[in-house]
Symmetry: C2
Subunit: 128 residues, 2 copies
């Protein structure tokens, strides 16, 4: 497989691109992260989501600690080629480090960010 | 309404936050853009999506030219408070400047980014 598809991506000044992980079945948005070239290449080659951790400055194989890996069904890119969308199957049904299904569990309600989705598993049980 | 909810957002070094627009009914991801503080405040106050155009360096009232405004049903934020999710109703059923429903119309097929969704309206008819 040539790397032309990687060259077509409009990497930002840090060599990164935003990536959205969406549940392939329900359409729920589960998380948002960043990818560099290696992360996206490895995602495609392994079929499992690999991101780039900006805080740790290294590849982040999603689920490496938690077991909550993401099997990739489809990869899309937007019209400016600067955002990646992954349609995934979320192992364990938990994408968020807080033990919730999705990282987007806080909703603006009357001017207050309010957690509206339940914690499915105690993070202490996830990250032992 | 106090601005505490705006202060809670982890704006990046440019004072921006990524924003994902998702169809409130179908769950389809329609577009991705950026917001600054003014854009998010105005989105909440008007109930219509307002972004910050990085290329034009100013507020971008989505649909100001095309008429393809986005009525906001719900606003969420992720666990790090650094990504905003809008659940919207897309006027005209077209979010993308190419005349497609969604900006994420290109799919990776055998190593080639391939447009898989139809153009619903000629952009020349949208931007007169």
């Amino acid at each position: 497989m040539s790397a032309a598809w990687l060259d077509e991506i409009a990497w930002d000044e840090h060599g990164l691109v935003p990536a959205i992980a969406q549940d392939a079945e329900t359409g729920d948005i589960l998380m948002f992260a960043w990818m560099n070239r290696d992360a996206l290449r490895e995602t495609v080659h392994t079929g499992k989501a690999v991101y780039f951790s900006r805080s740790r400055n290294k590849l982040w194989h999603k689920g490496e600690e938690s077991g909550h890996t993401q099997k990739v069904h489809e990869i899309r890119i937007d019209c400016d080629s600067d955002v990646v969308l992954l349609k995934i199957d979320q192992a364990g049904g938990i994408a968020c480090h807080t033990g919730r299904r999705s990282c987007f569990f806080s909703k603006l309600v009357d001017g207050v960010w309010t957690a509206v989705d339940p914690v499915l598993k105690d993070p202490k049980e996830i990250y032992k």
